[in-house]
Amino acid sequence: MSVPFIKVEDLIFTYDDEDSIDKHYVLKNLSLEIEKGSFVCVLGHNGSGKSTFAKLLNMILSPDEGKIYIDGLDITDPEITEDDLFEIRRKVGMVFQNPDNQLVATIVEEDVAFGPENLGVEPSEIRRRVDSALETVGMSEYATHAPHRLSGGQKQRVAIAGIIAMQPECIIFDESTAMLDPQGRAEVMNTIAKLNREQGITVIHITHNMDEAVKADRVVVINEGEVFLDGTPKEVFSNVEKLRRAGLDVPQVTELFYDLSNHGVDLPSDILCEEEGAEILSAWLKK
């Protein structure tokens, strides 16, 4: 078996300073491995430490204890050079929640160019990357527009293009769909799925939206600073009680089937997809 792209061992993290007495552990003993090319959704209630975990993965924050390996390199090694650090940040890109707070330039293409410019890429190569990144997210025709006139979903796609232009191997989306309307959400989700499928980019998608989580290869639930549940969407969402205890919902269909089977109706309890659920229900009603 190949080495996982991300490997996290016994992470401990706290925002308090070292000598405060009553420490609040945001992450405690969090261990996780993520394969290259996978599409992982991270769930957890507000304040469960998801954003903190994301920021640890590209060294915006550094852990109190524990090890983080990115592509085999130990980024928690105190001897790590600044160049290694920037290489990590290039490999592991991050897209945030509020599209307004992550765009730096007043013209779309100049914003997309920001990352590669920081990396010291040749001008002609930057031009090529910017054009192809905008093409990938379907924003080519807006290349010379001002970002503040775009819709939320469009801004978020520009932000994604800005990360793609750095040619990352993994992109972390920290609730990047949370502030968008349903249409913007769909635009961004399609872009994310496309990046994962066509370019083999590892995706870590932090979300509150269960219907988005259902589309992932794997769902990881973080609760009280630890991995609480981990598995395929079917496996994770079959633990309805456990999820409720962690302050999370399950998709509505799943909840319906769970309650039905709890009341003695002979139906499977691990249905995730609405169409599938509807078919099973109508077949069952006809019986």
Binding site: N98, Q102, V104, T106, E110, P123
Partner: protein
């Protein structure tokens, strides 16, 4: 509308002026501004107007847009015109009615001031803001000021701050609008009472605005770090501009403009004030 003041100005294109190095444009704009203030005679104003029209033509920006851009000037123009027409004292009385006396010199001066203000804004914005994106502009300033790096002046940081400020003006204006609406919905009143009462009414707007601005700033800092930002060293630019034939042409033309204006003041001193 308000949020378009700084940004709506850039007019993407590939005209003669668009393709000139921002540094040349900044210097040319400074020379042009000096030339505007040197204008003193009717002849020099004709030359200045011709030069300004030529600049507009070279920028490829539609005249309609430029005229629209002059709208915020209406108040200043009206004020200076009225002030000069009624209060400027001279020798040639044009109208004398009760306590109002209008002198010929006042009218001429008002005309000159109006023309100066219009040319000043049109010329410098055609040279800079209409044809140069804010990033290119701050980039140009950064490179012009780069000798100051030798005395450890934070030139790159200064330029970065400026371009980020420009980027966030529309966002913050929009947010101010929203907060004001929210406070109005709670019964705040921004449009009545004296100066002090109105100023005080703004506090519930400014406090949330500042808090949100700081949150945005810290979000942006993290986002920039994630995009490998580490200051100016080792950074390249997508559009690398070079001085070329166009730059020489523009620079020479503005120098000639200044010279011709001075000469015309000396040799055709008609209507000199």
């Amino acid at each position: 509308m308000l949020k378009d003041i700084t940004l709506g100005q850039f007019f993407p294109g590939r005209s003669f002026l668009h393709r000139i190095d921002p540094r040349t444009k900044i210097i040319a704009a400074l020379l042009y501004i000096v030339a505007v203030f040197l204008c003193d005679s009717i002849m020099s104003f004709i030359i200045l107007l011709a030069a300004t029209l030529a600049l507009i033509a070279l920028s490829g920006v539609p005249v309609k847009i430029i005229v629209k851009g002059l709208k915020p000037l209406i108040f200043i123009l009206a004020f200076t015109t009225i002030y000069n027409v009624f209060f400027y004292k001279g020798d040639h009385i044009l109208v004398h009615w009760k306590f109002i006396t209008i002198y010929l010199e006042g009218v001429v001066f008002a005309l000159i001031m109006g023309l100066r203000i219009i040319c000043l804004l049109t010329g410098s914005s055609v040279l800079m803001t209409y044809t140069t994106s804010p990033i290119m502009l701050t980039d140009g300033i950064e490179r012009l000021l780069s000798p100051l790096n030798k005395i450890k002046a934070p030139v790159h940081e200064f330029a970065m701050m400026m371009s980020i400020a420009l980027r966030f003006i529309p966002t913050l204006v929009e947010e101010t609008d929203k907060i004001m609406c929210a406070q109005k919905a709670r019964g705040a009143d921004f449009s009545s009472g004296g100066l002090i009462k109105r100023a005080r009414a703004l506090i519930p707007v400014l406090v949330p605005l500042f808090i949100s601005a700081f949150r945005r700033a810290s979000d942006l800092a993290v986002a920039m770090e994630c995009r490998c930002y580490r200051g100016g060293s080792g950074r390249t630019r997508m559009t690398k501009t070079h001085f070329g034939a166009r730059d020489v042409i523009l620079f020479t033309a503005t120098v000639i403009l200044g010279t011709v204006i001075v000469l015309s003041n000396i040799y055709f001193p008609i209507w000199m004030i």
